[in-house]
Subunit: 352 residues, 2 copies
DNA sequence: CTGAAAGCGCTAACAG
DNA sequence: CTGTTAGCGCTTTCAG
């Protein structure tokens, strides 16, 4: 004969329990715990005691249901495996942690369907705000619906068709310009730019700055532009293609470091030496850029800080009456390492 | 004189609205939407129509409040910037997405306080399950409380003091063994093992397998073990120290790739050539291991699959009556690249 | 098959 | 300063 087992999941202690334990109603209990002004310090103390004694954890779903806010932030990015996004995500998470928020992670692969799914799902959870990679994959109507929904949104790229979103981003255009100027200074005139899909907000800006600066700096310079995936695999594929077609480019500007790493791999395979045969500049200044061989010259942007800033803007938006969007642009910087050859110092070794 | 502004945030459409629109009560509306057996196909159709016409999104907080489940999974890891965890996280997120769940990301840095905070916070949200890096940083009482809470938990390391948790992990011990055997086969006998903090579940297993295999394979071999941070920075620090102290080790087993990358950086700085002067093996087989210079010989583990599997176990646990823990161990494999020198083929070049 | 009604646990007026 | 009372939006018995 079996004895009845005790309930396997111990009943969570709720506000009512601690109210009883403290000899007050749940209203005062709630007030005490939420530190609302206007409650007797002594009763309050009693409540706090009871709460910690019973190890009380407010049910956040219940609270969210009534307050309409959930202390949850949504982060929609292309792919967390891109080290750029890992860094951003960490910045986001740390800032959210400090603010007592949780962050739900969404990988969209820039797929519009997934993005819409995530937006809907996040809104269904009454998130306090959404940080998104980009919104360009969404059609106009969807963008408007999002803007009208009232959920604070900050985008991680600078330009949007709708001016209603806040944005935080690095100065991508300037970054492209720096890469171009450096190549020209080093005597390169047959260039290639390997980048991601057309119309990708940030990458387009990089291309724009790069091409502009090339034209301005050396109108007779040539530049091949190729589109593909802005990933290690994409860079590998584009690099292979470029090297095999025997273009006579002497310098490649990769739209991000991941892509540049792919080019490195392709070069290795094609027995092309970097920078002796071809020079390479990346973008992001990911940790590993310093470690690959050769150490990658790249454009630095403050990834962690972008994540932090995004959360701060979001939180300001969430509490402020004034929801006017904020647009912040962070500076970039060329980090000189060893993947670019100086063609001007004839016969000289790689610049070091 | 101002007119009253319309409510800035459009009132979300709720179950009641679609019930009215379909001419039924919210009860049948609910049943229809949730596909519960026992509702007239025609009424049901009417409800569905109304729902999609009004673009209805059920409030998940409300639903969670009553059902006790939230369709949210918690993922607590050390640091998303570690590419190992990025991969795992992507596996987790994809599997969760397929199951209609969201995942909230928590970076613990293995700090017990943070871990506890996150666990509490997740439980307050009635998460359907928690995937954790490891639980060893928590004291016995906390572990027990977690186990008793009834929330499904799966750990990403194999051994736990409490046998009540499910675990998914690679065969770390075997991985360590493979590294050792390979070094010995290549004629190395003065070894070093650079690893993370003591008592780190997975890393300890790697060390254990490594040391055991060394002892068994060549009892007269020496091995220095150093503890630090299992990060790029940690590897750099430990590598620098090792190289500067002029130990005569010929081969280093780094407990993970990030750490190995740090060693690479240190070597570069100390003008130590890898593998000519010192050989190196990593662990994880992160994407970039193939790209660094020299391409890193490392132990492969299936990161993405670990994430996927963790979610699947979690979901099974969540719905099953039977909550008996499941322990799954995934195989590992040595990936031979170019960071290990063959000392046996005298005068020969690096094995290729 | 459908409706009425009772909450899930909490906050927020509104009285006292 | 504290208690009473409505709900938040949804699911889920229990009747019909």
């Amino acid at each position: 004969m079996q004895r009845k087992l005790p309930p396997p999941e111990q009943h969570a202690v709720k506000l009512r329990d601690i109210a009883e334990a403290a000899g007050v109603t749940i209203a005062t209990a709630s007030r005490s715990l939420n530190g609302i002004y206007g409650v007797n310090p002594l009763t309050r103390e009693r409540v706090m005691q009871a709460a910690s004694r019973l190890n009380y954890r407010p049910n956040r779903l219940a609270r969210g249901l009534v307050t309409g806010r959930s202390q949850i932030l949504g982060l929609i990015i292309s792919d967390i495996r891109n080290p750029f996004f890992s860094e951003v995500a960490r910045g986001v998470e740390d800032a959210a942690y400090s603010a007592g928020c949780d962050v739900v992670l969404c990988n969209s692969d820039l797929d519009p369907q997934k993005q819409n799914h995530y937006i809907a799902s996040l809104m269904a959870k009454s998130v306090d705000g959404i940080i998104m990679n980009s919104v360009t994959a969404l059609d106009q109507a969807e963008q408007e619906r999002l803007a009208l929904s009232g959920v604070p949104v900050v985008l991680l790229n600078r330009f949007t068709s709708l001016a209603q979103f806040s944005t935080i981003s690095a100065d991508n255009e300037q970054g492209g310009r720096l890469a171009a100027e450096y190549f020209l200074k080093m005597g390169h005139a047959r260039l290639a730019h390997l980048t991601g899909p057309r119309h990708h907000g940030n990458l387009s800006q990089r291309a724009k700055g790069f091409l502009q600066a090339v034209r301005e700096g050396n109108p007779s310079a040539s530049v091949i532009v190729a589109h593909g995936n802005h990933t290690l695999a994409g860079g590998y594929t584009m690099g292979l293609k470029l090297f095999r077609e025997k273009h006579d480019v002497t310098a490649i500007f990769a739209a991000n470091d991941a892509l540049a790493f792919g080019v490195l791999k392709a070069a290795l395979e094609c027995k092309i030496k970097i920078p002796q045969d071809v020079s390479l500049i990346g973008f992001d200044n990911v940790d590993l850029a310093a470690i690959v061989h050769p150490p990658l010259t790249t454009i630095h942007q403050s990834k962690y800080e972008i994540g932090e800033a995004a959360v701060n803007v979001l939180l300001r938006l969430a509490k402020a009456k004034d929801k006017s969007p904020e647009n912040r642009v962070l500076g970039v910087e060329l980090i000189e390492r060893e993947s670019v050859r100086n063609l001007k110092s004839k016969g000289a070794k790689v610049s070091r």
